[in-house]
Structures are given as C-alpha cells and as structure tokens.
Point group: C2
Chain length 231, copies 2
Amino acid sequence: MGPLATVDFLAKLIAATPAAGDAGHAPFVAASIPQIPSRVAAILADGDSPLPALIGARDRLLAAGATLLAMPCNTAHHWYDDLARGIDVPFLHIADAATDDVATRVPAGATVGVIATGATHAIGLYSARLERAGYRVAVPVDAGDLQAVADGIAAVKRGDAAAGGRLFARVVSALERRGVAAIVLGCTEVPPGLAAAGIRPDVPWVDPTGALARACAAAWMRARAVPGREA
Amino acid sequence: MGPLATVDFLAKLIAATPAAGDAGHAPFVAASIPQIPSRVAAILADGDSPLPALIGARDRLLAAGATLLAMPCNTAHHWYDDLARGIDVPFLHIADAATDDVATRVPAGATVGVIATGATHAIGLYSARLERAGYRVAVPVDAGDLQAVADGIAAVKRGDAAAGGRLFARVVSALERRGVAAIVLGCTEVPPGLAAAGIRPDVPWVDPTGALARACAAAWMRARAVPGREA
C-alpha cells in the first residue's frame, strides 16, 4: 500500500498485457492515499483502523468507473471481506492470486516459505490458503530475520529500495537453508526491494503483486473477448 | 499518454516528495485509458478527436476527488484549453513546467533543442513557450531523425524501451552537433526510453514528465503547509 508498491503493481499490469501499442493495454484507474493509518499497527497494536480510509479509496475508484477491483497491499487484505461486501464489481484477492501461482510452480506437499509483515503472518493470510492447497508453510522465526523484514519494508518506503533488498536477502537465505521449495514474497515492498538490489532467490519465488496484476490482465482480456462485456 | 508514461510520471511524483515513510507522499488518483484515439493522427491526419475520451478521463479523476490535475502526455496538451475550461481545480501544463525547468538550467538567448512527436512540433507546444521565454529553438529536421523519433516512441509503447532509447540517441546526437545548450525531451516516451538504454545526453536535458511531477509535488507540499487547504 506504499505508493511505490502501487506503481510497481501498475508496471506489472502493463507488462502482463503483451501489446503492439497503447490500445492493447488494460485501462485502469488507481488511487494511492498514503496518509491511511498503518495496517500493521491496527492489527498488532492499538492503532487506528484503516478501514474508513480503505472504503474511501475503494469508493473513489468506483466513482471513477472501475469495473474490477484489486488492492496491491497484502496486510490490508485483513479488511478484504468488509471491502468486498455490498459492491457490484468483482474484487480479486492478492493471496488467492499468489496461491494459484504457487500451484503452478511446486507440487502439493512441498514446504513454501512466506516473507511478510508480522501482521500478515498474524492473520494467517498466506498460511490459511497455502495449507488449504496442501502445502506446508515456513515463516521467518529468528528475531533478527523478523526485524530485517520490518527494517527492509521501512527502507523501501523511505525510498531506499536497494537497502531494503539487502535486508530481505538475509531472510530469503534463512528460508532457503530450511529447505523451502518456493518463497512467497508476501509484502509488496519485497519484490521491488530485491529487484533494486539485484537479488534473485535460488528457489522459485512468487510475487503476489505480479500474480495479482496478471489475474487482473487476464480478467480484462477475457472480458474484451466477449463483445458487450467490460471488466 | 501511453500507460508506461503514466507509470513513469507516478514514479517521478513519488521521487519528488522526499519522505521518511508513506504518509509524506502526495496522495493521487490516476486514470489510464489507452484506448483513446491517437493524438498524433487527430492533429496531423484526419483521425478521430481524442477530446471526448480526454474529457471522460478528466471527469473520472474529478469524480474520484482529484483537487489538482496534470496530464503526462505532451501531444494531448493540444486540447489543454478545452480540458481546463469550466473546472474548479487547477490544471498544471506540462510545457509550462518544462519551460520553467529550462530557465533554471540555461540562460535566455541560448538555443534549446526539442525532441517530440511531429504533432507536438506542429502545434508549437514548446517553441511558443521557449521563444516567449527568450530562447532559440532547434527541432530535428533530418527525415531520418524524424522517423527515428516516431519509431522510438512506437518501440517504447510496444514494451521495448531500450530499443526506443537507442533510436532517440541518434536524434540527441544530431541536436548536440547543432550546438544546442539543452534538450527538452518533449514526448513522455523519450525519458524512459533513454533511461532503459542507459543513454544520457552530453548537454543538460529537461524531462517534462519529471518537471510536471515536481510541480505537482510542490503544489501539494505548499497546500499541506496551509492548514485547511488541500491540493
């Protein structure tokens, strides 16, 4: 939900629509309201709820004519049910898209690592879906690794993506040493951080931002193929 | 107005607000509707007018609560007056922002090169403002250079930004040989193309997308400093 994560999502949405020119790309409206209360603080501490601000951003998009919704912030999906209720358009879920992507990479029964905020772990956003799909889940447990994730996110948010990536690399290595078959980069700051630092995990990794962008692009391309329907 | 140019603008808007965390970044709503008729074909040939689609995109942003407008497409500014008429919010002009930027780089009297679509040249978007500010203007004249600009824009729009940048490099060199003191990269596909190809002009250059983003960020930071006012 950081503004850079929004831009990262939009770039991945464009990349997900192979096109000879502008007109082959999915139209979009986007809202980035970074003054929203911290999602992490609301879940783990006693922070203000971001729900009113999330509803406000959703309603801006609906007023602007959005016919399909997506929210490139993992932790904010804690409020997904509240946001998806009572609206007339589909709302794609980032962890559903990422779990579908995991299933194309590694067989059920494998252990999948998840890098995410403490709040995302606490609400079981990925573990619930991955376990339902038949995977074992490994999350960072070492206090230093957990701190590295938090510090890396803060570094990306203050504009130093490469420094964030170097912090995330430590956590990637720790999960790899534990024998994970794949890693879900379950916070939107992680993929641009690793990319800026030039670091690629040794095992297959899933970028939920990219998975969500591809799911949106696929929905748009399907709708475009049906005259009279819009997505 | 290509979707990648929109993402380039948003990334530059974020970079223009130095911030310790999310909340220091300007909130934004964005609309990218790449199915809009070609601006170049409407000006130079007998193509459909993009004005209804531009008004539609503007009205989506106003419905979403935008309180300051900007349009990161040079050629589309041919319809700026029609779009800025009858609305209650300020609408920053990309060539004003770029001309202000030129003035901080080179003294009046200097010759400034402009790389842009044939349509942008035809409507005098930059030449009128630069001449009013006391500059001489040089534009590509060689047929091969003009073709390289058009081909480079098409390459960026189809996703091959580096190939576009290599085509633009030929035009940059031609302008430098003619002794320009600075170059305006007056089509939004040019800066990301040159960046992807790793090419930097030898003379100072002005990126109108970046200038517009900085002008938006400055307006937001000024408004934020005045309690009760929003930009």
